[in-house]
Symmetry: C4
Subunit: 251 residues, 4 copies
Amino acid sequence: MEPIIVKYVEKPELNKPVLIEGLPGVGNVGKISAEYLKDKLNAKLFVEIYSKYLPPQVLMRPDGTLYLVKNELYYYKNPKGRDLIILVGDYQGMSSEGQYELSYKVLEIVKEFGTDMIFTLGGYGTGQLVEVPRVFGAATNLELVENMKKYSVYFSPSDPAGGIVGAAGLLLGLGSVVFGMQGVCLMGETSGYFSDPKSSFEILKIIKQYFNLDIDLSEIELRSKEITEITTQLKEEQKNEERKEDLGYIG
Amino acid sequence: MEPIIVKYVEKPELNKPVLIEGLPGVGNVGKISAEYLKDKLNAKLFVEIYSKYLPPQVLMRPDGTLYLVKNELYYYKNPKGRDLIILVGDYQGMSSEGQYELSYKVLEIVKEFGTDMIFTLGGYGTGQLVEVPRVFGAATNLELVENMKKYSVYFSPSDPAGGIVGAAGLLLGLGSVVFGMQGVCLMGETSGYFSDPKSSFEILKIIKQYFNLDIDLSEIELRSKEITEITTQLKEEQKNEERKEDLGYIG
Amino acid sequence: MEPIIVKYVEKPELNKPVLIEGLPGVGNVGKISAEYLKDKLNAKLFVEIYSKYLPPQVLMRPDGTLYLVKNELYYYKNPKGRDLIILVGDYQGMSSEGQYELSYKVLEIVKEFGTDMIFTLGGYGTGQLVEVPRVFGAATNLELVENMKKYSVYFSPSDPAGGIVGAAGLLLGLGSVVFGMQGVCLMGETSGYFSDPKSSFEILKIIKQYFNLDIDLSEIELRSKEITEITTQLKEEQKNEERKEDLGYIG
Amino acid sequence: MEPIIVKYVEKPELNKPVLIEGLPGVGNVGKISAEYLKDKLNAKLFVEIYSKYLPPQVLMRPDGTLYLVKNELYYYKNPKGRDLIILVGDYQGMSSEGQYELSYKVLEIVKEFGTDMIFTLGGYGTGQLVEVPRVFGAATNLELVENMKKYSVYFSPSDPAGGIVGAAGLLLGLGSVVFGMQGVCLMGETSGYFSDPKSSFEILKIIKQYFNLDIDLSEIELRSKEITEITTQLKEEQKNEERKEDLGYIG
C-alpha cells in the first residue's frame, strides 16, 4: 500500500492560505484550539489523510458506525485576509519516521495551495497548575519573533529547554528547510495532567487577533472558567491539607 | 524479499464472496470462531500468506515437521447464498506498518474474487466473567448497523471506548476507505483471561443465521458449556471466600 | 545503502552443498557447533554479509584492529560426499524484518551454488542442568523426520512448544516455502544459562556421523567434560544446602 | 520524503581531507572535542544533513528562533598538511537502520571530496572518576595501530570489550568495508556520568600533534581543570563519609 493515502474531497482555490496545525499532544492544547477554530469558522473538509504511520485502529461514532483513524485538512475562506488551512486529526505519527513522513506530506499538499506560512499550536507542559497560562512562542526567523511579541507571545531564551517534539516542531523545521516556508509555534502553558481548554483559550485569543477573525470565543471561555474553578478548588484542598499537617506538627 | 509472499493453491470462481476474518486476539474469540466455521463447512484452502511482518518463527506439528507462520484464506461455496472467504492465521502483523500492509494485501486479494462485504470477528475484553456474553457490533454504515440489530447484535453508543485495534478494525477501515467495501465487526464479550469458545458460540449463532448456513454448532456448544461450568465453579469459590471474610469481620 | 551488502571473497564450484547454520542463540549451542566444524574442517571463507539489520557496531581483535559485525559463509569440499556451506556470524538480525531479509538473502546465495538441503543448529533451553543433553529435531518433511531418528535425534510431539524462533527456524521455513529446499533443525538440550559446548558436542557427533566427516571431536569433548564437572559440583552444592535447610527445620 | 536530505552550502576544493567525527555519545567526549576543533580552527560549514532517522524535533536558539535537528560538515584548509572535514551534530541516528544509513551517507559525501582516512572521537565509559584519562584506540589496520601508539594512544587487547557502538564505530567499519578507507577511533576515558571536557582535552592534544595544527587548547584546558577540581572535591567528600562510617562502627 502507499504509506500515506491522500483523499481529496474537494480542490478549492485558496488565497495564500496559512496552515494552522493542532494535533493531539500535551494537554491536548493544540487539538482543542484547532478543532474549536474549525468548528466556529465552519471550515470545510477538503483532504483526508490515512497512513500506516498512524495506529492500526478504527474509532467508533455514537451511532455504531466506525471510521479509520486519520488526519484531516479543512479550509476557511477569510473575507478579511489570508485564507486558512486547519490540520486536525486523531493521532500523530507513531514513530520518528512516521512523524517526518506525515509532516512532509502535509507540507507538500499545502504548498500546492500556495501556503508559505505556518502556525502550529501546542501545549507547554510545566507540571504545575497555572492561574493565567502564558503563551510561549518559537519562530523560524527573528522578524517573526519580533512580530509575535506584539501579540503578547512570550519568547524565553531558555524555553522550551528540550525543543519541540512532534508535528508542531517538524512542520516548521521541514517547512523552512525544504519548502521555504516561515512560521511560528504557539505553546500554551499547561500542567499537562488533563485536557486543558484554558490554555487553548489563551492561544485562540492570539489567533483571533492576529488573523482578524470573526469568531465567537464565549464557549471556550466558559470551558476555561470551569477549569479555573476546578483547579482553584484543588489548590485550596491542597492548602488545607498542608495546614492540617502543620498543626499536626505543633499540637 | 517481497514483504508479503502470496501463494495461490487454487484460483476458484466465487459468487460475490463475503470475507470473514478471525485472527488471534482477545480471548482468541475471532480465531476460534473462524476456524470452527472453516472446519465445519469443510472450506478449501486457496491462498497462503507469508510475510516479514509476521514473527520470524516456525511452528511444530505433532509429527515432528515444522511450518513457517502464516495467514490463510479458505473458500466455501454456499449453495444457499453468497460464497464465503475465511481468513485465519497463526499471528497478526507485529507492527503498525505490518498490520496495515497485511490487511491491505488481503483486501487486494479478495477484491479480485469479487468481495464487497466483510465480517470481522473478535473478542471484547471486559475483565469480568460473563454469564451470557453479548455480541457487540460496529459497522461501516448506518444501514448495516440497523440490519445487524435484527440479529441481536448489540450496538452501544460508547463501546468499545478505545475503538477496535488490529485486523478486525483495519480490514473494515481500509476496506471502506480504499476498496469501497462495507462490513461489520462482531465482538463477543469475554473476560479476556483465557481462550473463550463460549463467546465464539454466540458469534457463530449469528453468523449461521445471517448466512443461512447448514452448520453443526453442537461441538462448540459443548465447549461453551464446559466454560460455563468452570466459571460457575470459580464464581462460587469467590463467593465462599467473600463470605468467610465477612464472617471474619463479624466473629 | 543496500540493506544487505554481500562481498564475495571467492566463487567456488561446489557439489550440491548442504547449508549448515550456527548463529548466536540459546546457550550459543549453534554458534559453538558451527564454528568448531568450520575450524576443524579448515573450511574456506567465501562470502561476507554486512547489513543494516545487524547492530551498528564494530568489534575488536586483540591486536587493536576492529571489524564491522557480519555473517560469513565458509565452504568445505567433502571428499566423501556432498560439500558443505557453513553459516556463522557475530549476530542474528535485530528485528523481525531483519531476520526475514537476512535469511532470505542467505538462501538466495546458497541456491546459486546448488544447495537444496539445510541443517540448522541451535539450543533448546530447558532452564535445568542436564546430565546428557538430548538432541531434539524438527524437519521440513516426514521422510526427513524418519531418517534423522536413525541418528538418535529425538522428535517430540510437543517440543519445542513455542516453535523455533530466529534464523534456525526461518532458513527452514523460507527455504521450503520459497526455494523448494528441505532440511532439519537440530536443537541440543541446554540450561540456557551459559555457553554450552556439552550440548554442541552431542550435535557434532550426529553431524559427523550423518555427513561421514573426517573430523576430530576430542577438543569439544574436553570442553564438554569441563562443563560436566562444573555442573556436577553445582548440583552437589545445591544438595548440601538443601540438606542444611532440612536439618534447620528439624533441629 | 528522501530519508536523508543533504543541503550543500558550498562545494569547496579540498586536499585529501581527513574526516573527523564527534557526535553526541558517552560523556559527550567526541562532541565536545569536534566542536572545539571546528570553533578554534574557524572551520566553514558546507553541508547540512537532515533525516527522518534523527528525532522528530526542533531545537531552540536563545533568540526565540528554532531549527530542525541536524548533522553538519565543516571543512578546514590546513596550510601545514591534509585538509580536515569535521562532522558534528545534535543527535546520532535513532535506530540501527538510521545509524547505518546516516554513516553511509556521510561516507558517500566525503568520498566525493577525496577522503580516504577517518578519525572518530568518543568516550570510553568506565563508571569511575579518572585522574588522568587515557585515550584508547582502535584502528582499521595494524599499521595505523602501530603509528598511533607513537602518539600515546593506548591499545588494549581487551578494551573496549563490547566493541564500539554507533557512528564512531560504523564510519570506520563501513568506511573500510565499502569505501576502502582506513581510520582510527580515539576514545577518551571518562566516568560517563557528565559531559567531560577533561577527556576531550586529552584527545585534542593528540589531534593537534598528529595533524600539526595551529590551535589554542588553553580554553579546553581550563574547563578540564575545573572538572579536576570538582572531582577531587567529590572524592574527598566520599573519603570523609567513609571515615565517619568507620568511626560509627567503632564508637
